[in-house]
Amino acid sequence: MMLARAAADFYWMARYIERAENTARLLENQLTGLVDTSIEELAVGWRVLYRVLGQSVSVAPAPMGEAEAYLMADAYTLAATLMEDAHNPDSILQCWTRARDNAMQLRPWLPVRVWTCMNQGFLWLRECDYTASWAEGPSVLPAEVINRLRLLAGVIHARMPRDNAWYFMELGRYVERLQRQAALLDIWTGTVEEVPLSWTSLLRVCTAYEAYCRLYSMVVRPDQALEYLVRNPELPRSLRFATRRIQHALSEIDPTGARYPLAPPHRFVLRLAAEIESDSMVEANPLEGDALFSNFLKESLALHDLIVAEYVAYPINKGLPS
């Protein structure tokens, strides 16, 4: 038996871990670029980064001509907001704090090692000196965060039994990923910036560049990159991959809901899968501001509501044993 509240906590814990990792990767990519990227591209990069996270840049852009002088200072502040700002609900520190809060609720269900890994990581991040680490190198801290998160992921992978708790974490992880990837693709296919967005860096952010090169070629073509990020069944950050994992997790959690008549979340995710299969998705024209992915993003948000309504916040009479 799985407690509904605990399921929700597992779900959210995984979502926060995924969110922290996503932010850390975007940030690392951006900060690595500080060395060799043009100022215009960097400015666009920051804007895109914040938009992917559903926020607007909180600092005014530097005056023309002085941008070079402000480059590092701006980067420092902008990165700090995403890294350790207690008022920014999506900062990595906040995500980790909330994931740990969920884990704390889950102590009786969580293998001890998973908790200690989570807790040690949290204590490290809370105590770490952002300024000192910046002096060492701007991308050092996000890189270390990614390492710590991968350690956590490894411990979770090795220690968690594949029971309902695991599958709710899978749900959380891939629902979050689906939303974040949809947001990324929405920006790459639907925005016109003064500097064209680089599909290569999109692939890099999605840790898909090397695999893409092996599959297609060194020359990144937007249509192929889009096809790859939407439909490839093997790429962990493709929409199809995430959707399939969600389908799998749902059928493990609720096998009867996977049979006809389908339970609402099952039905809905089936619809998302069908949309991914349809050709319109990969034919989205980057220059025409197509709303396809923003629709898809909205639908993936609705999926979350359906999951909560079905397994967590159902009315009493619906849940009574027959």
Binding site: M1, L3, A4, M104, T116, N119, G319, P321
Partner: protein, 558 residues
């Protein structure tokens, strides 16, 4: 029993500690002794044995020294700063400074350790607590923060023979208290016979009229009891009973776990009675009370993670394989309790509640409760769920009722109490009030409803103005106060600021009682007043804890 003269003497002792003269050990000879005693008798010695535990253990003081009688006494080695006082029973040493039988081996190992080794052990134990998140929540300046409970790395030892008596006394006490509760929520025979003044029971805010006539499974009202026991020169005595939601058992288990890891060889050499089975015993106890099936579903009802003892609730649920639930996870329908699972509602048979009974059910008790479950008490009354401890048990751990427990034991069991009570003056009686007001500077005055060391006056440590203020309060509401002499709590060795020093301790014992099953955890949570001279052991008031080893028999080592 502590008499008046003794209490007076204790007061003097508190102001001026009187150290016993001890010889300071010669460092050189100590060093020689250490070389001499390098032959280990333990199976897990370093030479020629499987390199499992022995090699992983890097703490130098964790070693068993064979003929330990020669080389340790108060004042020697690491005990150089250890002040024995004739006023207080010392858990490690006889009053002449020689080691007690049970502590011979540990004492020798400690005496031969140097401060850095001890510090290493202490650090390891604390680190383990931090990493495992063994915390309690404190409210300070309106904010909650997590703190680890201070732990001391030197275990307290007790011989098996001595503990056996305590064990019997605890069982006897709980049996009597359960009979008492059954009586006051039923016929009220003991009230009619005047064993306990009726207003003390019926006028107690913890008396739940709703429980009158309710059929409690096997008449076990208290299944989980936490009784605080102190030791003085006169032997063991009960300080108070906790019959509602006693906490602390997870710290007992955590202390034990940490010490097993920190000093494995010493632990193994002492045949220490095991407490680690507590969760299994708890599950058996709870399950035995359920009428419904062989494999009842047990839930631990917690107020939530902001409760000071949330760690413990989670820990126990995890260890028992029970559901850890909050009020919002439960639903009562058809006078049956269900838990919300991801695939619908599932029936719950036993609830180990860690919520005060006033908050259990908003349609029966406090209507402003958000922690409870609407209708829970109806399901209980209908016999469809077991609640442990039963609502309304708080009436029997009231500080004023406490002084009648020996009479309750005599009345219901026709036996003399095995464990003594501490002398208690009830301000609600005329003599008690007069005595208390007259001796306010020598007594500890406690509020009847208070707990956790709040709302009390420690006479010898108080100022005249504090006393006169308290006297006014006592005169206004005499029934709300009791007074006890300053207790000469025994002292145990603690590692403090690089030295071994004696500190006052008590122990919270844990007793379980189900249908035809009963278990007393051998030992319990030893609580330490870490501040020098302090007698307050509550963790909310600067107290800490340490492991408590009860040996299998009175002999410490063969």
């Amino acid at each position: 029993m502590v008499n008046r003269q003794l209490a007076l003497r204790v007061v003097v002792a508190l102001v001026q500690p009187c150290p016993v003269q001890c010889n300071s050990a010669d460092a050189h000879s100590l060093l020689q002794q250490r070389f001499r005693t390098k032959t280990y008798i333990n199976l897990r010695s370093e030479e020629g044995n499987p390199p499992d535990m022995a090699t992983t253990n890097h703490y130098a003081f964790d070693r068993v020294i064979p003929d330990s009688r020669q080389n340790a006494s108060a004042g020697s080695g690491a005990f150089g700063n250890y002040n024995l006082s004739a006023c207080f029973y010392d858990e490690m040493f006889h009053s002449d400074g020689s080691l007690r039988g049970a502590t011979r081996s540990l004492g020798a190992a400690l005496a031969n350790a140097d401060a850095s080794q001890l510090a290493q052990v202490q650090e390891g134990v604390v680190r383990r607590f931090v990493h495992e998140g063994i915390t309690f929540t404190v409210l300070r300046e309106g904010k909650t923060s997590e703190q680890i409970i201070p732990i001391d790395c030197v275990p307290r030892l007790l011989s098996g023979a001595e503990w056996n008596l305590v064990d019997l006394g605890l069982r006897q006490r709980l049996t009597a208290l359960n009979l008492f509760l059954h009586d006051i929520y039923g016929d009220g025979k003991c009230l009619r016979d005047g064993v306990v003044p009726y207003e003390l029971v019926l006028g107690c805010p913890q008396y739940r009229v709703e429980m009158r006539g309710v059929k409690v499974p096997s008449a076990v009202y208290v299944s989980i009891c936490g009784t605080d026991i102190i030791r003085t020169h006169d032997g063991f005595a009960v300080l108070e009973d906790n019959l509602r939601v006693p906490s602390g058992v997870s710290y007992m288990l955590a202390c034990r776990g940490a010490m097993k890891q920190a000093i494995p060889r010493l632990y193994r050499a002492h045949t220490v009675r095991e407490v680690a089975h507590y969760p299994q015993h708890l599950y058996t106890t709870l399950a035995s009370l359920s009428q419904r099936s062989d494999n009842p579903r047990v839930a631990v009802l917690t107020p939530g993670r902001y409760n000071a003892a949330y760690y413990e609730h989670a820990f126990l649920a995890g260890e028992m394989g029970a559901e850890l639930v909050e009020g919002r996870d439960l639903v009562v329908h058809d006078a049956t309790v269900f838990v919300r699972s991801v695939l619908g509602l599932r029936r719950i048979d036993v609830i180990y509640r860690r919520v005060d009974d006033g908050f259990l059910d908003p349609v029966t008790f406090r209507s402003d409760s958000l922690l409870g479950v609407a209708g829970l008490f109806h399901a209980y009354r209908a016999g469809n769920v077991v609640i442990a401890n039963a609502p309304g048990t708080g009436v029997a751990d009231d500080k004023a009722l406490y002084s009648y427990v020996p009479d309750i034991i005599r009345y219901f069991l026709a036996e003399e109490p095995i464990l003594a009570n501490v002398t208690t003056h009830l301000c609600r009686t005329r003599e008690g009030l007069a005595y208390t007001l007259e001796h306010l500077d020598q007594l500890v005055v406690k509020e009847v409803g208070g707990s956790g060391g709040y709302g009390m006056l420690i006479g010898p440590h108080s100022t005249a103005s504090e006393r006169s203020e308290f006297a006014t309060r006592i005169r206004a509401y005499p029934a709300d106060y009791i007074a006890q002499p300053v207790l000469d709590l025994s002292r145990a060795a603690c590692f403090i600021d690089g030295h071994l020093e004696p500190r006052h301790v008590d122990v919270r014992s844990f007793v379980l009682r189900g249908r035809d099953v009963s278990w007393v955890a051998p030992g319990g949570l030893c609580r330490v007043a870490l501040r020098k001279g302090s007698l307050v052991v509550n963790s909310s008031q600067g107290g800490g804890c340490k492991d408590f080893w009860v040996l299998a028999n009175s002999e410490d080592l063969q």
